[in-house]
Symmetry: C2
Subunit: 136 residues, 2 copies
DNA sequence: ACTAAACTATACTATCTGAGTATATATTTA
DNA sequence: TAAATATATACTCAGATAGTATAGTTTAGT
């Protein structure tokens, strides 16, 4: 029931870019130093963000990263899913295998967890990095 | 971002007891068999539930388990916390150590995760096992 | 063309957590 | 006293977490 450390770092990296001048390219080194994230690990995380289309990267000597769209269009959910994959409270909510034990498709635990899971997803989707940058 | 398997089993065990006659003592063996939970593992989980005051145990030959209070007074949150400890989306929400990195007590990531965490807690606290037993 | 500074890609590793098992002990009823 | 139950502690094994290492590719500037 906890987000992992990579997601936490990803939040801070995206927030850092959100706080930079729009379109400005920031190096991983800079982000790592300022946000106290191990450089190598950050580079790996950044690639997830690039793949997800949240961040764009520029290679070469003057390379680095910038947001691929305005901070207001990037939600916490976007980042969580980019780094961790889909949010799920219980493995049986993705993999039917685990739920056919007794109740098949009418498992009440399954049902109620799905409702709660959706609430979590809504909460994460409601918050974006423009809002977050305001608080910083 | 996922509840663990022990919590899933705990939900099913409590639900099982909620579906039995009030005050009826059910053995771990019976619960394990019906809910398809490994007996040894279930016994361990049941002790967490007993410690948390959700379930009471009876020792000896005619022993077993029963709910310590009506199903309507047992929330999903009660069970989650009994098995996993407090709900926290990020380690920095419990352990200040992790959050003094840059922002000290005004970390915006920290702040927004706390809001979301509270929403999760509310959702879990809102649902009880009487409601759940209805669906079964 | 070469070099340095950046990102990319894949593989590796150490530690921790999750999920469950094993063994011995204590309690209670028949 | 035996059998069936729960309690307590310790152990194990696989997979996930949180990184690190090595090699490669791209680009700006000389």
């Amino acid at each position: 029931m906890q987000l992992n450390q990579a997601t936490d770092y990803a939040f801070r990296a995206v927030l850092h870019l959100a706080g930079s001048a729009p379109g400005e390219v920031v190096t991983a080194q800079e982000i790592a130093r300022r946000e106290k994230v191990p450089l190598r690990f950050l580079l790996k995380i950044m690639r997830s963000l690039v793949e997800a289309g949240i961040v764009k990267s520029v290679r070469g000597v003057t390379g680095g990263y910038a947001l691929a769209r305005p901070p207001g269009k990037i939600t916490l959910l976007d980042v969580v899913e980019a780094v961790e994959g889909p949010v799920r409270l219980n493995r049986c909510l993705i993999d039917q295998e685990y739920c056919t034990k007794r109740w098949a498709n009418r498992c009440p635990v399954h049902q109620i967890l799905e409702v709660i899971q959706n609430a979590v997803i809504q909460e994460l989707a409601r918050r974006n990095f423009a809002e977050l940058a305001q608080k910083a």
